[in-house]
Each structure stands twice: as C-alpha cells, then as structure tokens.
C-alpha cells in the first residue's frame, strides 16, 4: 500500500516538474525573448494611420500614456472579438484609471476595414477601445515596427481570411515596449501587467 502511494507521489511530482519546466520555457522567466522579435519602442516607429473618427494618428498619439495595442480584422469570427472582449474585461477591472490607457485595435485588413467599419466595430466593445486603419503601406510600416506578421489566406468560395499575430502589446507612457499579453491570457495575469506599465508612468511623473 505504502509502495503504491510512493509511486503515485513520484508520478505526481514528475508531472508537476514537467509542467513547471514547460511553463518556465514558454511563459515564465525562461521564455525566449529573441531581440529581433521584440517590438521597437514607439519613439523609433514611423507610421500614419486614421482613427475611427477620421483623425490622423501616429506613434506620437500613443506616447504620454501607457498603451495596449492589438492587431486583427473585423471579418475575424473568433480570435478578434474574443480578444477585444478580454481587453474590455481588463479595462472594466482596472476601473476609472483605465481612461489613462490608450487602447487600440489596428486592422491588418485595410482593404475591407474602412474607417466607418472600424468605428462601428469598436463601438460594441469598451468605450476606451479605438480602431485604426490606413493605407496598406502604412499598415505594413506599423506591423514592421511591432514585429507583427500578417498574411492573406484564400478561403473557400473566393473569400479570404487573415493569419496574424494575436498577442496584445503593452507599452509604458514613454513608448517603451513592456511585454505582450498572450492570446486569451487570464485576467488575473493580464491586469497586473497593465497596472505595472501604468505604475512606471506614475513613478516617472513623481521623480
């Protein structure tokens, strides 16, 4: 009987060890952050896009407050509405302070996502969320700065879908890239990351 318990305990320990190693390598402090893959600071980017109200926006629009940025497209039935819903939940959790966080959904499908489309789409989510679109070469420029990849994929009956980087990018108020919040990352992990980026700003303002 004791032996069975011992084997079970060793087995459980092995499972936990394997899970821990996996987490360490994939999400934890041991995660590979290849320098080439990290987003540039906003201060090093150049792009010119249009927001949901038709205003010109660029990297300078985001500098001065912490920012959450997500790339997607409005024809996306699953990942994009889920992420925008998740972001809405994080902003709700942060409460009134969330007004100081720039939150932007940028389309990787400018052919179909016009300013009007973006305006209607973002209106269904947290009021803090903006929707930016622009000329294809400007979308390419911002994607390059963020080290985001996107690709048009032909689907059935002549339609197409987009493959795209799905994480949420977090920048502090100086425009420095802080971290990504992975697709579908639980609120308990996402909100402290955002608060930390907001904290950076407060500290800087006080010093």
């Amino acid at each position: 009987m004791m032996r069975v318990a011992k084997i079970a305990a060793i087995g459980a320990a092995a499972v936990f060890a394997a899970l821990f190693v996996g987490w360490w390598q994939v999400d934890g402090p041991g995660a590979d952050s290849a320098p080439g893959k990290r987003s540039l600071p906003l201060t090093a980017m150049e792009f010119s896009l249009t927001d949901q109200d038709g205003r010109d926006v660029g990297p300078e629009t985001l500098i001065g407050e912490p920012s959450l940025v997500f790339f997607g497209f409005t024809y996306c039935p699953d990942v994009c509405p889920t992420t925008l819903s998740d972001i809405s939940g994080w902003l709700d959790e942060i409460g009134p302070d969330a007004e100081d966080v720039n939150t932007v959904f940028i389309t990787v499908d400018p052919d179909r996502d016009t300013v009007e489309t973006m305006a209607e789409y973002v209106s269904y989510f947290h009021p803090q969320i903006q929707g930016w679109t622009g000329l294809p070469d400007q979308i390419a420029a911002i994607a390059d700065g963020f080290r985001v990849t996107y690709e048009k994929v032909e689907a059935e009956n002549g339609e197409y879908t987009m493959n795209h980087t799905a994480g949420v990018f977090l920048f502090d108020a100086t425009g420095r890239f802080v971290t990504t919040i992975d697709y579908h990352e639980p609120l308990e992990f996402a909100v402290p990351k955002i608060r930390r980026a907001m904290q950076n700003r407060t500290e800087r303002a006080e010093s």
């Binding site: 509405p81 889920t82 269904y124 059935e156 879908t161 980087t165 799905a166």
Partner: protein, 160 residues
C-alpha cells in the same frame, strides 16, 4: 484537391463503418437521446458580409464513439466547424476542422480560441436577443437541431 478527396474518402469510410452496424436502427438515431448539446451561443454579427461564430458543448452519453462531421444552418449559406490555432510566434490562423471524435462518456467544447461553428454567407444578420436553428451532423446519421441564442458581439461565453 487531393487532400479534399482524401478527406471525403475518410469521412465516407467513417460514415460507412459507423453506419453499417446501426443501419437497421437509423430511424431512431435521428432522435439519438445519447447526444446532448449544452450552452450554445453565438455572437451578434455586423451585418451579413462577415462570417458569424457560434459555440457549444457536445456530450456523448451513449456507449459508442461518435464523430461530429458537419453543420447545417438555414441562416448560413455555408456552415462548418473551424479550428483556430496559435503558433509559437503568437500568430493565429483558422482552418476547417477535421471530424471531431467524441468517445463514449466524453465531451467536446467548441469555445473561443479553439473550435467554432463558422457561419459563412449569412442569409440574415445575427441579432442580439434573437435565436436561430443550427443542425449538428454526426457520423451515425444523427442530425440534431438545436436553438442557438445570439448574444452581444462582446460576449465572452454562454452567460454573456
């Protein structure tokens, strides 16, 4: 082309294998009580040009393995199950899913970020507060029609 053909053969053979021993009771199977669908919901759509997405959980309470092989819905000119995958670089992609095998006593959830019912060519918009019928097609010939409530675009799960 070849892949599609191979897939057709595959699903055909599955249907054939699963169908044979049950052929005599095919009529009853259309009212298969051992397949239970729970928590269906869909997101409201932005007009009719974009594909809609719906989610649900299928439970196999029978004693035979069963596969979910397809969907049919009047509201969609082309309904199918799609799978979202996110690779190690964080890039998400979406593609039609293979047949979904559910063992006896097992369950399978279509949920955000995994599998979803992809409702292309919407014939009418998915309006929050309304419902629409969706038929699930199984490998044993069972066709199960369920009613899917439409929640807001910003819904995160069956509770809204």
């Amino acid at each position: 082309m070849f892949k599609t053909f191979a897939k057709a053969i595959q699903s055909l053979s599955v249907a054939f294998l699963m169908g044979l021993p049950m052929a005599s009771s095919a009529q009853q199977l259309s009212e298969n009580a051992s397949i239970v669908v729970e928590s269906p919901w869909a997101r409201a759509s932005l007009g009719m040009s974009r594909p809609g997405g719906a989610y649900l959980t299928v439970r196999n309470e029978g004693s035979d393995q069963i596969s979910l092989i397809g969907l049919r819905a009047e509201i969609s000119g082309m309904a199918s199950i799609h799978e979202t995958r996110t690779n190690s670089d964080g890039v998400s992609s979406m593609a039609p899913a293979d047949d979904i095998v559910i063992p006896p006593g097992g369950m399978f959830a279509l949920e955000p970020g995994g599998y979803h019912a992809m409702l292309m060519q919407l014939q009418s918009p998915l309006v929050e507060g309304e419902t629409f019928p969706l038929t699930l097609l199984f490998s044993d010939g069972t066709e199960l029609e369920i009613t899917v409530p439409v929640l807001g675009i910003g819904a995160r799960g069956p509770e809204g």
